[in-house]
Symmetry: C2
Subunit: 637 residues, 2 copies
């Protein structure tokens, strides 16, 4: 009896959180399973994943160098934690299912490979041979393959499903690029033209193909055209045709294919999720059902106990509400159809709006209801009050833009700060505080937090300044950013702006999935890039006048555009730099310059790394991101 | 009676071609209206529009200079033609409707303004004062406002309907850019940082706003970040946040809003068109109906006469087919429901597939049916035949890539040409020629035309070469392009490729609408640009060693990136150059460099022109183009 209730609760909880893990139904296994799903265990797993991923900051090439022994001990610790989690999972799920699941195999394989890599690298290090820590590129496997990362896996599945369709478009696109390359070789190859840098123009088919691939990203427009255009104006037609076909039409087709698959996939996933949810709820129902008359139902007492197990923190008024909804006829039991809705009901956020009296009214009704007090309240509720503060914010913006070394302006900052505090106090005086700070009142929270933070930071800065006669740069920067963020409040006053911003904020959590996706891809590319390109390009402090500083410490960069544009800090010498460089490559601009620089210090084949990154990140992931925003906005509008 | 038929025919014709022009119903007016819609009149209108638009090639600043007198006479001629067309329209349409239609007012106003401008400019020219031919920017009005340009007007309407929604997003976006500018001013303004060019970094809020606006287009990434990034690695977070919010999220939201409106608008337009079409068909029916029993119908004879008037070129078998479809019960009359479908029926292309015998079979059956002949036919129909020719094409591609000065390779070209001709002859031998060259057989036409053109061009080139001992460069270039286009045939063999290409070809005609839209916007911006920037930047032949050649003939460009990158030919000195420059601006890359160059030779305010162009073309028109491709692909897939 008790065991059935626990099992049913596990099913309902799985349905509520869309979990799809088959588990054994023995009482011990169910308890283990609940423990497996407990938030502390999940948090611990993510904690170890974060530690494992961030190890790259401390390993050679390191941002904060630590000895190999230290990082490898931490890594073994993480691997142990992952293995423990996996063993826990193996105890929960049936043996057959466990060994058939590629996710588990992936994790085990990665653990073994990482251990092998650690041992090999450590041994070689001991005899002073430097080798490659290749297993680091596998670390994101842990982020993807634990059952918690359903969302990221779904995004990867979406990409995988898109691949066959996109592959054909991509091949056609490559074919088109090659055709145009051939044409360019024949049209311009024998002309003896020179680029701005004085090198021969379009004489080698591989170089041409690379330049034309880059032209699709527009990163070398119009430079790539100029020699031919200078030679003969008609040749511009070749480039215009190329850009229309390959940049505009093909890139749009890529987006169309990705978006189309994304929508199709989304629909399938939602349908599948709904089916699994229903299936689990039916199993839970079958465990608890009793026959009343001709139909099977769940008794009210049993239903209450179930709800208490699934949602231990539920308030009794909330529970009564759910029961009232589920047992409409007040028959003392819940029928099948209403029972199946329980998982969805539990997911609904119930906002209890109590029209409460203002505490001040209860405390000193005479004063609060006096005509002066009522006037203040009417004033604060009036539209003009909002307008006045919008004007104050705009004046504040102008003051911020002015020179702050002027003492008058620096004092004005205190004036504005007090005006904002007065505004909040007035609002708290007028509106009931608990509903003003309700869960959904995002903008009120934003207001108050920004003001308090600015107040604290300004006071801290003034204290430090008067005590030590100098300002801390970091605190000053933070004060400044907070002061400017305050201006965001102007948005709240304009209805249309609020709608757009609210839509963006609502899709924020789902965007985190993309954050995870991008993190995985960036991490793998960063590790590969760090192994291939680290310390090939050095950054020297601008005040440092080493002879090599101007060529980023590498003579191969002499006279290169990379060194001329002072791109030395765009390198793979540590994880943070690598991530920033990959971000620049995602934005695509000056792609040739960056790829060209790293090709100069290593080998022309290095360009393949950059083209590969472009295909994966810009053609696939950025397009999925756009598809996601399009879909989110269509639903919202 | 006869007049009713004519009027009904006019209604049906309007419904067939989606024309929405109210016209008078007197017999004379109907005849005038039919004449107004005749293709020769429409072609003449477009001819004069083309002449009028292309005048900019001959006017100062001219690609091919002509005296002002010549161009102004041609312009007056064009204006007369437009006026004539308008007068014709006025005679056709009711007086009230004519004067209420803004399209007509626009045309008349533009004619008057152009005449005033011509007179003022001519008089000033006579006393040697150079003024501005501002009315030239109004010329696209004629392209937009004649009733023929329904598609382009629809695209403009689509943009206009999108404007309110996009405006709010754009204001929010501007607000965000300004907030970030303010932050940048405060964070970096006092640091004394320098750009690569040695100028102060982020010290002026207007410059910062421009640079950050450009960063949205990614055209100055990562340069704009480098000084701050070199100073302190953490400042990269500012730029990464900026790029995520403004480049990725906002630009995606722009696309979402444009696409959303485009779909909504498209649906409305289609609904409206369907309503108007039905309305016209009902009017036509009411003119011709007679009562038979309880219902009103159109007699078969009357129906036939109507169809003959609407579609004079219809074949009798086609007419019988239409009648059979419309009069299903063979009752000798067409009922209302079937009559309303006539306009749509006339638009359906009827492909008559006659399984005809091959002419050779009729001519010499013995030979054509001999076992050797049958073997050849089976061979040609076999899949391997296609594969063999795919291999030949690929080998051909390799030969093209090799050095053609090698005589062996130059002879191989003749071999390939003959192989292709043999292929076509074999196919014509096997397949019935009239169905092989059917209307829908795009790829067969493509094959044959490319081969014949290549043959003609190669023969022409060889003739010239042997006669004059030198090759004509233009013909060589054309031969070369044709030779490479031949490789496109590989696509035909792969089913998936053919699907994609066919989709692209099918949306081709609709893309012409975008061509018109882009032409209008480019023309207006080109004329403004030519008036503002002409001869500020000069291009000198690379072999010419004038001292000014390196600064594009303008000392203001000394040490500028514009001159260093040899962008001298990117100028507004004639219409063709201006169009190519605007194309480069559409692609966005090196936007700062181009805008900066023209700001240097005139005034910093010139950057507004470039930003305006970016907003109109990239944010609006390119997004509509992408929306259009997305929609077309969703329908096709
Ligand atoms: Na770019």
């Amino acid at each position: 009896e008790e065991q059935d209730l626990l099992l049913a609760a596990a099913y309902v909880s799985d349905a509520q959180y869309n979990r799809n893990i088959p588990f054994e139904t023995s009482p011990q296994a169910i308890r283990l399973y609940c423990f497996y799903n407990h938030w502390t265990m999940q948090a611990a797993t993510y904690f170890f994943i974060c530690i494992d991923l961030s190890l790259a900051l401390f390993e050679e090439p390191a941002l904060f160098p630590l000895p190999f022994l230290a990082t490898s001990i931490v890594e073994v610790l993480c691997l142990t934690a992952f293995l423990g989690r996996l063993v826990h999972f193996a105890k929960v799920t049936p043996q057959m299912v466990f060994w058939k699941d590629t996710k588990n195999i992936c994790i085990m394989l990665t653990i073994v490979l990482t251990l092998i890599d650690l041992i090999v690298y450590g041994s070689l290090e001991a005899v002073n041979i430097r080798s490659v820590r290749w297993s680091r590129a596998l670390r994101p496997v842990f982020l993807i393959n634990f059952p918690e990362s359903r969302q990221i896996r779904r995004a990867f599945r979406s990409i995988r499903n898109t691949l066959p369709d996109i592959l054909y478009v991509f091949l056609l696109f490559l074919f088109s690029v090659l055709m145009f390359s051939l044409m360019a070789l024949k049209l311009f190859g024998d002309r003896g033209l020179k680029t701005v840098e004085g090198s021969p123009y379009f004489t080698n088919i591989l170089d041409i193909a690379f330049e034309l691939y880059v032209l699709v990203t527009t990163a070398n427009s119009p430079d790539v055209m100029m020699p031919a255009y200078d030679f003969n104006g008609w040749y511009s037609l070749y480039f215009i045709t190329y850009i229309i076909i390959n940049t505009y039409v093909f890139l749009s087709v890529f987006l169309a294919v990705v978006y189309n698959n994304y929508r199709k996939h989304l629909k399938n996933e939602i349908r599948k999720l709904a089916y699994l949810k229903r299936h689990k709820m039916i199993e839970a129902f079958n465990l608890l059902k009793v026959q009343v008359g001709t139909e099977f139902v769940v008794k009210e007492a049993q239903w209450r106990r179930l709800a208490k197990v699934v949602a231990p923190d539920i308030s009794s008024s909330h529970l009564e509400l759910l029961l009232r909804v589920s047992d409409e006829g007040q028959k003392g039991h819940v029928d099948k159809m209403n029972f199946l809705r329980l998982a969805d009901l539990l997911n609904i956020q119930v906002v209890t709006i109590n029209i409460k009296r203002h505490p001040l009214e209860a405390w000193m009704p005479r004063v609060y209801q006096s005509s002066a007090s009522l006037l203040v309240q009417r004033m604060v509720r009036h539209r003009v009050f909002v307008w006045v503060y919008d004007v104050i914010i705009l004046v504040n913006a102008i003051f911020i833009a002015l020179d702050e070394r002027n003492p008058f302006i620096s004092y004005a900052e205190w004036l504005f700060l007090s005006l904002y505090i007065i505004e909040i106090l007035l609002k708290l005086y007028t509106y009931e505080p608990r509903s003003y700070f309700g869960r959904r009142q995002f903008w009120n929270w934003f207001d108050v937090l920004i003001i308090i933070a600015a107040l604290v930071a300004t006071v801290a800065n003034t204290t430090i300044q008067s005590a030590r006669k100098y300002s801390s740069q970091q605190i000053l920067d933070i004060v400044l950013i907070l002061r400017i963020l305050r201006l965001l409040r102007v948005i709240v006053s304009i209805e249309r702006f609020r709608v757009i911003v609210t839509t963006l904020i609502n899709i924020g959590p789902a965007m985190l999935t993309f954050g995870g996706l991008v993190l995985v891809v960036y991490y793998v590319f960063a590790i590969i890039g760090m192994e291939a390109f680290h310390s090939k390009v050095q950054f020297f402090d601008p005040n440092f006048t080493a002879p090599d500083a101007l060529v980023c410490g590498n003579p191969a960069l002499k006279d290169s555009a990379f060194a001329r544009n002072r791109y030395c800090k765009n390198n793979f010498n540590d994880l943070a730099s690598a991530f920033i460089l990959l971000m620049e490559l995602t934005v695509v601009n000056h792609f040739v310059l960056l790829a060209g620089g790293f090709a100069l210090v290593t080998h022309q084949a290095a360009k393949l790394y950059f083209v590969g990154f472009h295909i994966v990140v810009v053609i696939l992931i950025v397009n999925i991101f756009i598809a996601f925003i399009l879909e989110a906005f269509f639903v919202a509008y």
